[in-house]
C-alpha cells in the first residue's frame, strides 16, 4: 500500500484523541476503542485527509466471553486503505451508539448483530430481529447460549399474522 505511512499517522493521531490502541496485524490497522467513543472515531475515520476510510465494508459482533465487541471493517472506493475499528462493549449491558447516521447501510448489519449477540444500538431506526423470528428467546451466537433440545425444536411454530 503506497499510502500506508499516511494512514498509520492518521490512525495514531486518532487513537490518542479517543484513548484507543493501534495494532497492526497482517498489514491491516486495528483500532480498538471503548464503546462511547465509537461515533467520534468513525466520523473522524470517514474524514481522514488523503486516506479517507469512508466505506463501511462490514459490521459484525464478537463474543470474547468477558466482553462483547462490535467490529467495523472500513475501506474506501478511492484507494487501497483499510481500517478495522473494534469497539469494546460491556457484556452485562451491551449498549452502543448506532452508526446509521454515518452510513445508512449499517441498518441491516446492526440488526444482525442485535439478532445474534443482543447488542443494543441506540439511535437505530428499526432495531428488531432480522433473521430469527420475533419471539425467539436468547441470542444464539453468544458463547453461553444453549440450544433448545430437539423435542422443543421439532414443534412447529405458529406464525404470527403480519410478521
Amino acid at each position: 500500500m503506497e499510502n500506508k505511512e499516511v494512514l498509520r499517522q492518521r490512525v495514531e493521531e486518532l487513537a490518542t484523541r479517543v484513548n484507543g490502541e493501534v495494532e497492526e496485524i497482517i498489514g491491516a490497522f486495528i483500532l480498538k476503542v471503548k464503546a462511547p467513543y465509537v461515533i467520534e472515531t468513525l466520523t473522524a475515520a470517514k474524514k481522514f485527509a488523503d486516506v479517507p476510510c469512508d466505506f463501511l465494508h462490514d459490521l459484525g459482533g464478537l463474543d470474547l466471553v468477558d466482553h462483547l465487541e462490535v467490529v467495523y471493517q472500513l475501506s474506501s472506493l478511492r484507494g487501497p486503505q483499510r481500517l478495522r475499528v473494534k469497539a469494546v462493549v460491556d457484556r452485562e449491558n451491551p449498549v452502543i451508539d448506532s452508526v446509521t447516521n454515518i452510513w445508512q447501510g449499517a441498518n441491516f448489519l446492526e440488526r444482525e448483530a442485535y439478532d445474534m449477540f443482543g447488542i443494543k444500538f441506540t439511535g437505530h431506526p428499526n432495531l428488531k430481529r432480522i433473521y430469527l423470528w420475533d419471539d425467539f428467546e436468547g441470542y444464539p451466537l453468544r458463547k453461553d447460549y444453549v440450544t433448545e433440545p430437539i423435542e422443543v425444536r421439532n414443534i412447529v411454530r405458529q406464525r404470527i399474522e403480519g410478521e
Binding site: 433473521y131 430469527l132 423470528w133 444464539p140 447460549y145 440450544t147 433448545e148 430437539i150 425444536r153 421439532n154 412447529v156 411454530r157 405458529q158 406464525r159
Partner: protein, 173 residues
C-alpha cells in the same frame, strides 16, 4: 394434527376409496397422475441447483412427463422440498402444502429436508420436514444427484400407480 397420524389417515383414505366399480377408472387416473406430476418450484437451498439441473437438457425431466414446474401451489400436485427448512419457514411450508389441490404428494429431497443434515443441531433448524408435512419419498444425498431425484420421482410414480402394493410392502408382505 399430528403429521404421522395425518399420513396414515391419508394412505387409508386412498385405499378406502377403492371399490369394484371405479377400480378400473382409478387405474387409468393413477396412471395419468403418475406420468404427469406437476412439481412445485420449492428450491430452498443448494438442492435447488440439482433440481434445476434435473430440469435442464442433460438429465431432462420431461422424458418422464414431469417437467411442468409450477410457481404457484394451486397448480401443482407434488411438492419437492429441495433444501433446508428452517423453523421460521416451517409454518409457511405447511401453508403451501395446504394450498396444493388434492391429490398431493411430498418429496423430501436431500438430507436437510429428510432429517436435518449437517445443520441438525442448529438453533434455527427444522430437522426433517416430516414434522411439518406428510412425506411420501425421502431422497438421501447432500445434495442428491439428478439421477437420485429422477429415481425418487419414479418411486413416487410407483407408489401412486400401485397404492395397495406399496401398503402391503410397508407391512412386510
Amino acid at each position: 394434527m399430528d403429521v404421522t397420524q395425518e399420513k396414515r389417515l391419508r394412505e387409508d383414505e386412498t385405499l378406502a376409496e377403492k371399490n369394484v366399480l371405479v377400480t378400473n377408472i382409478d387405474k387409468v387416473l393413477n396412471w395419468g397422475r403418475g406420468h404427469s406430476f406437476w412439481p412445485l418450484t420449492l428450491g430452498l437451498a443448494c438442492c435447488a441447483i440439482e433440481m434445476m439441473a434435473t430440469g435442464g437438457p442433460r438429465y431432462d425431466i420431461s422424458r418422464f412427463g414431469w417437467e411442468v414446474f409450477r410457481a404457484s401451489p394451486r397448480q401443482a400436485d407434488v411438492m419437492i422440498v429441495a433444501g433446508t427448512c428452517t423453523r421460521k419457514l416451517a409454518p409457511l411450508l405447511r401453508r403451501l402444502y395446504d394450498q396444493l389441490p388434492e391429490p398431493k404428494w411430498v418429496i423430501a429431497m436431500g438430507s436437510c429436508a429428510s432429517s436435518g443434515g449437517p445443520f441438525v443441531d442448529s438453533y434455527a433448524m427444522m430437522a426433517g420436514v416430516d414434522k411439518v408435512v406428510p412425506v411420501d419419498v425421502y431422497i438421501p444425498g447432500c445434495p442428491p444427484r439428478p439421477e437420485s431425484l429422477l429415481f425418487g420421482l419414479m418411486q413416487l410414480q410407483y407408489k401412486v400407480s400401485n397404492p395397495a402394493k406399496v401398503r402391503l410392502m410397508r407391512h412386510g408382505k
